[in-house]
Symmetry: C2
């Protein structure tokens, strides 16, 4: 694992437990432990430890696209796509990023609310 190590690196290596719900050759998906919706899954790259979205390089479009497509495939497989879902990537403090290993949130299972500043 290149780069800095985090909680998510430990989950990838199965050093700490997580509720894993999705895996392919590039992406691991597991339940968020502080869910903001009935379904809240985090999708992370298994082979690259990129701290934030701001660290992503232009040649890594495919990699971040794979995170998005993994979330879409999981939503479809779970029967969540017809009602709908949201995917989110938070970058740094103003967005509330707390683990510095690039991750994409999938939220579904209820009508979702605002996604910007609090009202």
């Amino acid at each position: 694992m290149a780069g800095n190590d985090t909680l998510f690196g430990k989950i990838i290596r199965r050093e700490i437990p997580a509720s894993i719900v999705y895996e392919d050759d590039e992406v691991l998906g597991f339940l968020d432990t502080a869910p903001q919706a009935p379904v809240h899954v985090l999708f992370i790259p298994k082979h690259e430890a990129i701290p934030t979205l701001d660290d992503l390089q232009p040649e890594q479009a495919q990699l971040v696209g794979r995170l998005v497509l993994a979330a879409a495939a999981h939503a479809r497989a779970q029967g969540l796509a017809e009602d709908g879902y949201r995917v989110v990537i938070n970058c740094r403090a103003d967005a509330g990023q707390t683990v510095f290993h690039l991750h994409l949130h999938l939220l579904a299972g209820a009508a979702l609310g605002r996604f910007g500043t609090p009202e």
Copy 2:
């Protein structure tokens, strides 16, 4: 323009006005007219009219990745990346999708709130 036409198709063809703040060979970025944060920009693919994230095909990982990277590049260019920002794609009703041309939201400029169900 293949597929269904929407408000965003008309913006791409400059048939209706929009505050365009970003453009590259694949992606157009313009201000959301109902902003949820001090900075709220929408990024759309210029050459493909994909209705929802659920319609995205596995071979289009690069395309959706280019939307993410366009938002990250714009945030960096505008001096927003250090404080942080959020990117969001809403799919269908539960997420509040209203225009059925795939688009990615960039939100920045303040501390952002929850992104799932309302509290």
